[in-house]
Amino acid sequence: MNSHAWELLVLYLTVLLLTVKPMGIYLAMVMEGEFAFVRKTERPLYRLCGIRAEEEMGWLKYTFAILLFNALGVLAVYALQRLQAWLPLNPQGMTNVSPDSAFNTAVSFASNTNWQGYGGESTMSYLTQMLALTVQNFLSAATGIVVVIALIRGFARHTAASIGNAWVDLTRITLYVLLPISIVYAVFLVGQGSIQNFDAYKDVTTMEVTKYDTPKLDAAGQLVKNEKGVVVTEPTEAKTQTLAMGPVASQEAIKMLGTNGGGFFNANSAHPFENPTPLSNFVQMLSISLIPGALCFTFGRMVGDTRQGWAVLAAMTILFIGLAIAAMAFEQQANPLLTQLGVDPALGNMEGKEARFGIAESGLFATITTSASCGAVIAMHDSFMPLGGLIPLIGMHLGEVVFGGVGTGLYGMLVFAILAVFISGLMIGRTPEYLGKKIETYEMKMTSIAILVTPLLVLVGTAIAVIAADGRAGIANPGAHGFSEILYAFSSAANNNGSAFAGLSANTPFYNTLLGLAMWFGRFGVIVPVLAIAGSLAAKKRLAVTEGTLPTHSPLFVVLLVGIVLLVGLLNYVPALALGPVIEQLMLFAAH
């Protein structure tokens, strides 16, 4: 880690932590309807939609509303992709997306995963990008946030039958938080150089003529090989380049703010039109963790003890610092294979990095995006050093609770907190309680499900893929790295991250279907038990805090929480990681 990396990390955390309190207060006030203008503005909307805003919902009804809302979202996104050829705003004449890819993308954007089996600029019409994908960016982010708000209400309320009104919550978070910030954010990005238009793609003459070799193809489109079996290539020159256009800035803003991460272009945030300058890059990193960080404060405020929120935030920050330092330090390592070819080892591992950003930014961005459920990238994670690639994997394996996705990060962390409280409560001889709520059989059942779902999906999904011929066919790299690619794909899908070890060719019916299922169950397999916990906690009495109560805002509890997250989150993946990145690193350095 050089001094630039340290400065970047410190600056990033300082700015992020400064935003936590004001943003957290605002979120809490909006969600609890404390602003008069909030109630006034939304009333006509509710009347229009026939929503009885005063009617609160029990957890079952709330869950049903959320599931229905997202299922409809999947249908809409699927339909728009399948029909885009006949719909307007399609200057490039994009064809309809294949059924399996459309299904995968629909689930992907509804589940806030934003895994992209497709390349944006070569697949989607502007209408699809805007109406299907950008809209889902808002709605999936809103879903994550309202679920955690419902869970917080479970802690905050007592002997209550309801946890809020899903329609009201979804409206408020979209209307007063996601939309206004996104508008300002998009304008800022345009100011930095992002594009926002409906133009057809532009062919431009490049300043420099690019010369390269292309493989020769025969009449049947197959590679031509010489007598030695080597592919024959022919020199090619390129004087022009096609620049993809589109309404980029408006999608980019919510892509980052809502921890969605699905790029307008295939190159994602490494593309200059998505992420033009170092400043826009810094703001992009910041906007990923803005809401997740602030929600910790919202949590503390709503349960009436801000220390509780700070404690959770402290645990997240500690984990984050560890992951970020590791990622940046591992990428600063030189790849011995490249050193052998004469690359200066002092440069670190520049393979697959955007030269505008460099190693420290790439390492930090990779950590932020995978410890949140964002998945936007500015560098090829596939080209990271083996252990550098381990860090994004770990971020996802921990359940993306380090700041995490909007809403999902905090509810994931609170599920771990319930587990930590359960074990530590026993250790001090009390039946466990968290924030005055007893943690009993039902909560443990739901907590267990929430913690079980993603490891099961990741491990079983990976196992199916490495056995199946269709699964093995997608692997680009041989050896242990191929295993890492598949493991990364399922980790990303089941944890709703969406970033990729891009080496895997995943736009096949096999992967589209399997990963689509992993995304759906990875998302709602956790949301349903979390809402169940919310309902059950809301119904409970609140116990008084005494000296015998385990303080859940103390440094000791923070350490315990960090320990539980690491232990429970990682123990499940040790063998898989040993056979992937770990052995890769050992082999790389043992051989050279």
Binding site: L426, S448, A463, V466, A480
Partner: protein, 696 residues
């Protein structure tokens, strides 16, 4: 109740426990513990694999030496047996207790009366034929045939079989001492008892059922923990099952080695799942109940014991719990113009014949302060005036001289009747004493027509020794103590301050008690209380943990969820500690069990895949001799740790009254960090031994 105490591995218990450990291998028993059931299936599977390998089939293709499979299979069976043994050992203790209780259920005959009075005709019937509502006559030296209520007569009863207390107790009709327990014996006189329970529902029956059911009924917290353990088991099952395809893939891409064997995967699975806590879980529960029994407390359910650990408000009766039952004279406060010695002398004379503890204490104080010896009563020509409820004073007449002591009002009436006056300064002293929480007794004398008040004796409530420290401990545990007393507010406040309780309820009525409990509960607190009288029953029923005194009435016992056979109100504190201890033992062993997985991974993962990726031996940080000895060592450690922790499971993690944070820090250091470090050392040690013996 058995007074026999067993050492931990007492042969008397350990030998049958070994047999039981094998008997518990039945699938029907194993099924009840899901985690150990997985180990059980693993043992069967590896045994089958071994037999298959002997014939050169199955695992023989990937494992060179069938002896390795046998070794793993054997140690997996040991793991199951050790867990069975732990459970059997704990149950053995309970069974011994139950057996001694069952001894009480003698086949006795009872004199069943046709009508509920002494003159009625009776007929001999077996005790087992008695039904609720039947009335029986029990004469001296006869056993009481069933639980019931005395409706006529007074008798001394030997209850030592239940309480272990050899001194007989008095049982009489009416009041708070009317309940009798089946199996106890009338020593003198006779009583007529109305049977209050049907056969099979008696107190002793319930005790036996409780002891024997301890192994079958899981407490709520135990269920919650089991769910967590099962969830971990499912995850680790997925981890190991998917490892086979991962391994096959790795072998294909690396072009070296053989896929991991099923034997190794089963070994890894058993090492990862929380067998340590799962194997000891029921033993911890049974041992907790059994510790309660040793403290002579009978809980009606494990749930009650668990709840005891959570209590944060204790309601304690002042008399008997916080203070000694009696007040004692602590000071002589003479009136103006009277010396202290004069007052002491008069007070002593007035108390010589007073056999109440208060009276005795006045004589003792006079002796201590002024070396006044007891005088010969007859030589003094004394005529004693005993206390009556009408006069509310007592005293002595020595010829003309009359000395009286009593409550201030009574003496005031006496003095004024004799034509004297009750001086203001005396009233002031009376108030001072009352404000200090003591009881003032005023002494007056009348001789030769002259009447005067001599002064005031301060009778003090004596707070039990060490009780203040006990309350301080409780405060550190986060438990608030509330003193309940019938005294007035002033007196109550003074004693509360002296005893160091957090709060008090003065002039307590049963309704006020009930209201207080409800108020605490509405604030989200869990309330524990002790009680004995029938008027305590509503409060006992309302409290979360209610310990009824065995000397108490049937109504009180039924309302409570625990009965203290020793009838010692301070026992509540021990009950709370036992409840906490049970939870702490579970939590600590769970942490230990999960923390162990780190070292086991380091032992097994390099060993399992080193044939495919030789570079993985870099992770063999313990430097274990060979892959097979590494795996075997981890399995052996996993089995032996259960045996090593049996004493801890049975005795429980030591509870110290510290704050929650301190306690957590300590236990995390011991069982969390210890759980990470211990297996590294243990596995290495076993590996060295195996290598030295040349076994693998």
């Amino acid at each position: 109740m058995t007074r026999k105490t067993f050492t931990l591995f007492d042969p008397e218990l350990a030998v049958p426990a070994v047999t039981d450990a094998f008997r518990k291998l039945s699938p029907a028993v194993q099924w009840r513990n899901p985690v150990m059931f997985v180990v059980y299936i693993g043992s069967i599977l590896t045994s089958v694999l071994w037999i298959q390998a002997l014939g050169g089939q199955g695992e023989a293709r990937v494992v060179e030496n069938p002896g390795f499979i046998l070794a793993i299979a054997l140690w997996l069976w040991f793991t199951v047996l050790f867990a069975n043994f732990a459970e059997a050992l704990a149950e053995g203790r309970s069974k011994a207790q139950a057996a001694s209780l069952r001894g009480l259920k003698k086949e006795t005959l009872a004199k069943k009366l046709h009508e509920p009075h002494l003159e009625s005709k009776w007929q001999m019937v077996p005790a087992t034929d008695l039904r609720k509502g039947d009335v029986v006559l029990i004469a001296a030296h006869e056993f009481i045939p069933a639980d019931g209520e005395v409706i006529e007569g007074v008798a001394s009863v030997d209850e030592s079989a239940i309480t272990g207390e050899s001194a007989p107790v008095i049982r009489e009709s009416g009041g708070d001492f009317s309940s009798v327990t089946g199996g106890t014996r009338v020593l003198s006189d006779w009583i007529i008892v109305r049977v209050t329970v049907n056969p099979g529902e008696t107190f002793v029956d319930r005790m036996i059922a409780m002891v024997e059911n301890a192994k079958r009924q899981k407490t709520p917290n135990e269920i919650a923990l089991t769910i967590l353990l099962v969830a971990l088991t499912i995850v680790f099952l997925a981890v190991t099952v998917t490892l086979l395809p991962y391994s096959m893939f790795s072998v294909d891409v690396a072009g070296a080695g053989t896929p991991v064997s099923i034997t190794v995967l089963i070994a890894l699975l058993v090492c990862l799942i929380p067998t340590t806590i799962a194997g000891l879980l029921s033993a911890i529960g049974v041992a907790g109940m059994s510790r309660m029994m040793q403290a002579n407390v009978i809980a009606t359910s494990g749930r009650a014991v668990e709840a005891a650990g959570d209590v944060d408000v204790l309601l304690l009766d002042k008399t008997g719990t916080i203070t000694l039952g009696n007040r004692q004279a602590s000071a002589f406060l003479p009136a103006d113009g009277v010396t202290e010695a004069e007052l002491a002398d008069a007070a002593q004379l007035a108390s010589l014949a007073d056999e109440t503890p208060e009276g005795r204490s006045i004589v003792v104080l006079a002796k201590q302060r002024f070396k006044l010896r007891e005088r010969d009563i007859h030589a003094l020509d004394a005529h004693f005036v005993h206390f009556t409820a009408q006069m509310r004073m007592s005293g002595v007449n020595l010829g003309e001289r009359q000395i009286r002591k009593g409550a201030a009002e009574a003496i005031k009436a006496f003095v004024e009747a004799e034509g004297g006056s009750f001086h203001k300064s005396v009233s002031g002293k009376v108030d001072d004493v009352a404000r200090r929480g003591s009881t003032p007794l005023v002494v007056a004398e009348s001789s030769q027509g002259k009447v005067r008040v001599l002064g005031v004796i301060e009778l003090k409530d004596i707070v039990k020794g060490g009780i203040k420290e006990r309350f301080a401990e409780l405060r550190q545990m986060g438990i608030k103590t509330v003193m309940v007393t019938g005294d007035n507010r002033v007196t109550a406040a003074a004693i509360a301050a002296e005893a160091g309780v957090d709060d008090f309820l003065a002039e307590a009525t049963p309704e006020a008690k009930l209201k207080l409990i409800r108020q605490y509960q509405s604030e989200g607190r869990l309330v524990a209380m002790t009680g004995d009288g029938t008027n305590d029953a509503p409060a006992l029923a309302q409290a979360d943990v209610a310990v009824a005194m065995n000397t108490g009435t049937q109504a009180a016992k039924e309302a409570g969820n625990m009965v203290d056979l020793d009838s010692n109100p301070t026992k509540l504190i021990e009950v709370v500690e036992t409840g906490k201890q049970m939870l702490m033992t579970r939590g600590s062993l769970t942490t230990f069990s999960i923390a162990n997985d780190i070292a086991k991974y380091f032992a097994i993962i390099p060993a399992a895949f080193v044939s495919t990726y030789p570079q993985l031996s870099a992770l063999n940080v313990m430097g274990l001799a060979s892959p097979s000895s590494a795996i075997l060592s981890a399995v052996i450690f996993n089995a032996l740790i259960i045996v090593f922790l049996i004493p801890l499971a049975l005795k429980g993690v030591k509870y110290r009254p510290l704050g929650a944070a301190t306690l957590l820090r300590q236990n995390l250091a011991i069982y969390g960090l210890g759980g990470i470090v211990a297996p590294f050392l243990g596995i290495k040690l076993i590996d060295v031994l195996i290598a030295a013996a040349g076994l693998a």
